[in-house]
Symmetry: C2
Subunit: 327 residues, 2 copies
């Protein structure tokens, strides 16, 4: 430990929790303003199939965030043995439901379900996760404004923006090319006029490529993969990885780490996101923002409620989903 040297040379750590809190406060304000204007509240439906612990925890976080922001949430919990057609039926119902402006299916789905078929069933106007090919396609086309962009990369962009990291004309590398993070991340950086390289498991020279990049996004699912020695001095480093590694010093015997070797990266990077407390909380915050933006589009098309309807709606109890499987 060389505290003095480190004090002068180490990266600014981006506080994902603090930025997420800020975003959630803004969303809460937007929800109130929409209610003032239209007499309606945004609604988010979450479908969970099976009983994976991590998925349940993620769903709980999303539902809690809805509550905190004043967004109506409808959560559907189906058993592991549910049939694909049951999920599709719920999605169809939600596609028609005017109270629901956003629908997400918690991934992964149980084996035997066709993830693409399920995701494609969500009306692309309600595809708050931005996983529908139509929405991903619109993201790729610079002359279009995409309706929805996946929440994790949107959160990364928001952190760059609020941390004052310049993007236009800079070089960026995205490690990983998934539909959920890597690919949309590359497209967002590209839209912001960075020169983007998409690296992946078949890339032979990742350290060399990272060394050239002003912005490094690690979303490759390998614990502590990116070393400080790979980084250009002063680079912005966004760590999307969530990996559990053995750590006998912890009560659980496990420790959560990212795809970046934080210790060695810290003195080299200009700004860096930690794991946990970096990208993670931003994902839920951006989900809330996407939900509100979706509702705004629907409300704009539908127009405000009449005075009478507004008064009637105010007296109504909170919406309860009529479906038997509603949890």
């Amino acid at each position: 430990m060389q505290p003095l040297v480190r004090f002068f040379s180490s990266a600014r750590v981006i506080d994902g929790n603090a930025i997420a809190k800020q975003v959630l406060e803004e969303v809460r304000g937007d929800v109130n303003a929409l209610y003032e204007q239209y007499g309606r509240k945004p609604g988010l439906a979450v479908i969970l199939v099976g009983a994976r612990g991590d998925s349940q925890a993620y769903v709980k976080k999303k539902v809690d965030a809805c509550k905190a922001c004043g967004i109506k949430s409808f959560s559907y919990r189906l058993p592991e043995t549910a049939k694909q057609k049951d999920v599709l039926e719920i999605i169809n119902e939600l596609n028609r439901n005017p109270e629901c402006h956003s629908t997400l299916v918690q991934l992964p789905l149980p084996k035997g379900m066709n993830q693409n078929a399920v995701l494609d069933q969500i009306a692309f106007e309600k595809d708050v996760d931005g996983f529908h090919p139509f929405n991903l396609g619109e993201l790729c086309i610079t002359t279009r404004v995409p309706r929805f962009v996946a929440c994790t990369p949107t959160g990364c962009m928001e952190m760059l923006k609020r941390s004052g990291v310049p993007i236009e004309g800079r070089s960026a590398i995205v490690l990983g090319r998934s539909q959920i993070v890597g690919l949309p991340m590359a497209m967002l950086l590209q839209r912001a006029n960075a020169t983007v390289t998409i690296a992946h498991s078949k890339t032979p020279n990742m350290p060399e490529l990272c060394k050239k990049a002003d912005i490094v996004v690690a979303a490759i699912g390998k614990p502590q993969f990116v070393k400080g020695s790979w980084l250009k001095k002063g680079a912005a480093v966004l760590d999307v990885g969530i990996n559990l590694i053995r750590d006998p010093s912890k009560k659980s015997g496990l420790r959560m780490v990212g795809d970046v070797d934080f210790e060695s990266a810290l003195p080299q990077a200009g700004v860096i996101t930690p794991v946990p407390g970096g990208v993670g909380p931003m994902t839920v915050a951006m989900l809330m923002r996407n939900t509100v933006e979706s509702a705004r589009r629907f409300f704009k098309a539908q127009g405000p409620l009449s005075k009478e309807a507004r008064e009637a709606a105010a007296k109504e109890p909170e919406y309860t989903c009529p479906t038997a499987c509603h949890g």
Copy 2:
């Protein structure tokens, strides 16, 4: 001129005309095989609005290629003054027409028409140009098989393949990020496991980036922009540019050149496509291939015609489009 040195060190020039001819012959064989199996022929509809000379020439090339391959073509020619709703009506009719398996609208559309709205109206199952956001989105997702990919980048991939250029694990740079060439090109190279960099007008260091690339695709619309000195020795260079420059030595006073400075690139590249006679003819050939693949999917779903229907169909005159605006 140093003929000897050049003989030993210059690039292999990829003959787009020859490869396109080969592809068209294969397509002709596929059309015949489909007719044998299903008693049906693939159909391509081309919609042209206005009277631009270049657009008319492109449409003629496409219709001629259909004839040469045994594909039915329906061409619709509307005046410059046509309304957007007229175009949408024709597209809707074609979406329902079981004889049409592929629909394309020749771009650019006249000013005042919303290109996105028109392209989105084409059923994505018939979007032979691959411009629909749904099809572009599927192309981006490596776990999916896209129905259609834009013809120019598909033609580039075919030329790389037939010229024996390895792609997996190699570095590629795509100059340009249009929906029609650059973006889908980058996605195709990425799917083939190249490490792809997308460069564009805001990229400050293109020469330096090109120097690192095993594969360079120039689709940036600037005549003779990429210089030989930018290239890595032995790189594969695909030139998508079509630019007219002044040339007093020509009768027309004009000469067609690509986005690559061919003369200086020739001694440096490993393989290179010329302009004209490189990427251009491949685009039409891939359009024919896309049309046949689309028809194959429709035929597979519909099943073969009965013996009676097949005999009746064989006696029918060639399909004539009932729409008044058909040209």
